[in-house]
């Protein structure tokens, strides 16, 4: 005996309301409090500091990275130090139990919900910059500690051939060890083994002027796949291919020791990629189930005898569609967007004094790039204590 129409209405209505309620609930989970309003000034340092104070806490480390890089390039090392120290407190901690990370793994929160720490190449650079700052402060052992931590950040590559393969980090570890009276052999051998052409310069523990140079534009991130669930890296484009340092009567070729484009793209798959893949499958499956249920429900609802079943199925289909819509498999594409592409280094011996110096950036074929030469003065105050110079093509 068919159900009476008077009995059908409330049940179907209840299911529809439930479906919509669940949709609202699930959709609501994905939202997050908006950032506080703040006015951009156009000054990347001031804007970075404002962003740290006003943007959501999950982006704090990202802004600290970016702003520290700007401060480094302005020679505001104390500012860079403070920013990196705070960022490294987060980075140095184990993320187990992190609520934002747990949410990022759930179906209904974006990966970008997690507190930003960066991909390995970004974490490496945070430690690398802090290491330079320690060396500037006359603490080569702490600098070495940072270079070791940086190399460790790169140690979990999918293909072990690309694990811990920053030449400069091993070379700098060797140099610091030699300067501290230790045996640099192991670290130097690792650096030499990592070298593509050319080989790193011979280790000179007596060098008292250390020049860290960076140039080019680093990689950025984008997402691909049906639901943007696959993280990819877009290599930065750089006209610079090498650099030359001239200081006093010395000229040193600054070939790239490390290439961040290479580092970003050789890390391999992440565990999180697997989770995002699962999210994408779930989103796709619930969407398909929803489509099937809606179509079937509509057909069944057309027949007086199966109207109840049809409406119920349609409601379930709607719920499934809502669940699918609320599922967020998109990969986190927040990135440290002002990194260089190439890292380079030179160590010189200079007597005490002031030396006019230049770093000339060169394009394909070795021709100098106009208007990009950086001029500065190296003030050597001690023949034994290290004078550390940081030069970027983005120096301001």
């Amino acid at each position: 005996m068919p159900c009476s129409s008077a009995g059908v209405g409330p049940r179907a209505l209840w299911l529809l309301v439930s479906a919509l309620g669940a949709g609202a609930l699930l959709g609501g989970c994905a939202t997050s409090p908006p950032a506080k309003a703040w006015a951009r000034t156009g000054d990347p340092l001031a804007d970075g500091l404002a962003a740290i104070a006003n943007e959501p806490a999950r982006d704090r480390v990202l802004w600290q990275y970016r702003t520290a890089a700007v401060a480094m390039r302005r020679g505001q090392f104390a500012q860079a130090k403070a920013l990196l120290d705070d960022a490294l407190l987060t980075l140095g901690g184990i993320s187990a139990g992190d609520k934002s990370a747990r949410q990022a793994r759930s179906y209904f929160h974006r990966e970008a919900k997690k507190a930003f720490r960066g991909e390995p190449y970004e974490r490496v650079m945070a430690y690398y910059y802090r290491g330079i700052l320690y060396w500037i402060d006359g603490e080569p052992d702490n600098a070495r500690a940072c270079f070791r931590s940086a190399q460790l950040q790169d140690s979990d590559a999918e293909n072990k051939q690309y694990a811990s393969d920053y030449l400069l980090l091993d070379y700098l570890e060797a140099l610091a060890t030699a300067k501290l009276g230790g045996d640099p052999t192991d670290a130097l051998k690792r650096a030499q083994a990592l070298a593509k052409l050319p080989q790193p310069p011979a280790l000179d523990a007596g060098a008292n002027v250390l020049v860290f140079v960076e140039y080019g534009n680093g990689p950025t991130k984008y997402a691909t796949g049906e639901y943007h669930e696959q993280l990819r890296f877009r290599p930065g484009v750089s006209v610079h291919q090498s650099a030359v340092l001239k200081a006093g009567d010395q000229t040193v070729e600054l070939a790239p020791s490390d290439d961040l484009n290479f580092q970003a793209t050789t890390r391999g798959g992440r565990v999180m990629d697997h989770i995002l893949g699962n999210k994408a499958v779930f989103k796709s499956a619930t969407d398909s189930v929803g489509d099937a249920a809606l179509v079937s429900g509509a057909i069944l609802a057309g027949d007086h005898d199966t109207r109840d079943v049809g409406l119920g199925l349609a409601a379930a289909g709607l719920l499934s569609k809502i669940v699918s819509a609320a599922t967020t498999p998109a990969a986190d594409v927040r990135c440290w967007d002002n990194l260089p592409q190439y890292l380079s280094f030179a160590a010189l011996r200079l007597p005490v004094g002031a030396y006019p110096a230049t770093v000339e950036f060169r394009g394909q074929g070795g021709s100098p790039i106009a208007n990009l030469t950086k001029s500065f003065t190296i003030n050597v105050t001690s023949a034994t204590a290290d004078t550390v110079v940081f030069v970027s093509d983005k120096n301001q």
Partner: protein, 221 residues
């Protein structure tokens, strides 16, 4: 026969809810929530934020060193309080640290628990790369030049040079780190020495070891 549609709806709704709530995007991932850091020292366990040098390590290590120093005959049976200079520890780990903090805490522990048994001198570490031997040589030269006191003129009246050290207290942090898909592991060996300035002999040495392991949340792996 009349179908009980209400039951069917409820069962269907429950099935969908179970699918939505019970399903997990992390399936197939081992330890998706990560494993909390565990301090490996046998006499103390606790949850910590990282695998590096932390305050509880500092307290445990310096307490042990201070107790150990007080027990050696050169300190416990000295006729006059030996004079000790603190020399910054060497950091050979992957963790940047404040190098003075270990010796500062050992000094305060010794001064608190054995007031008068040891006296400390303030000396700068000198050049950034000045190894311990250079510092010891410098101390000896200062004594020879009469710029600081030595045993010979300790009791002379009117002597007003800087005091000379009997011992240098220093230490070294050595580390062993590893990272795999199973997690992150850091072992640190803390060793401290008391070195006789005259002979460069090591009159006391002790160590402490701490190993920590942890696994990052899958969202960061």
């Amino acid at each position: 026969m009349r179908t009980n549609w209400a039951k069917v709806y409820w069962l269907f709704g429950l099935a969908v809810a179970a699918l939505v709530l019970g399903g997990c995007a992390s399936s197939g991932v081992k330890n998706p929530s990560g494993v909390a850091v565990t301090e490996m020292r046998p006499d103390e366990r606790g949850f910590v934020a990282g695998t590096g040098v932390e305050s509880q390590d500092l307290v445990a290590v310096t307490d042990k060193m201070a107790r150990s120093i007080l027990a050696i005959p050169e300190i416990a049976n000295a006729a006059t309080p030996p004079v000790v200079v603190l020399y910054p520890v060497q950091n050979n780990t992957r963790f940047p640290i404040n190098k003075d903090i270990f010796l500062t805490r050992i000094r305060t522990e010794l001064n608190t628990k054995a007031r008068g048994k040891v006296s400390f001198l303030s000396r700068g570490a000198g050049a950034q790369t000045d190894p311990l031997l250079s510092a010891l040589e410098r101390e000896r030269e200062l004594k020879a030049a009469g710029q600081v006191t030595s045993d010979a003129d300790k009791d002379k009246p009117g002597v007003s040079q800087f005091k000379g050290a009997d011992y240098y207290l220093t230490g070294k942090l050595e580390g062993l780190s590893g990272r795999t898909s199973q997690g992150l592991s850091d072992y640190i060996l803390y060793s401290f020495q008391l070195v006789d300035v005259r002979t460069t002999g090591i009159v006391w040495e002790d160590k402490a070891e701490i190993k920590k392991q942890g696994l990052e949340d899958a969202a960061y792996r």
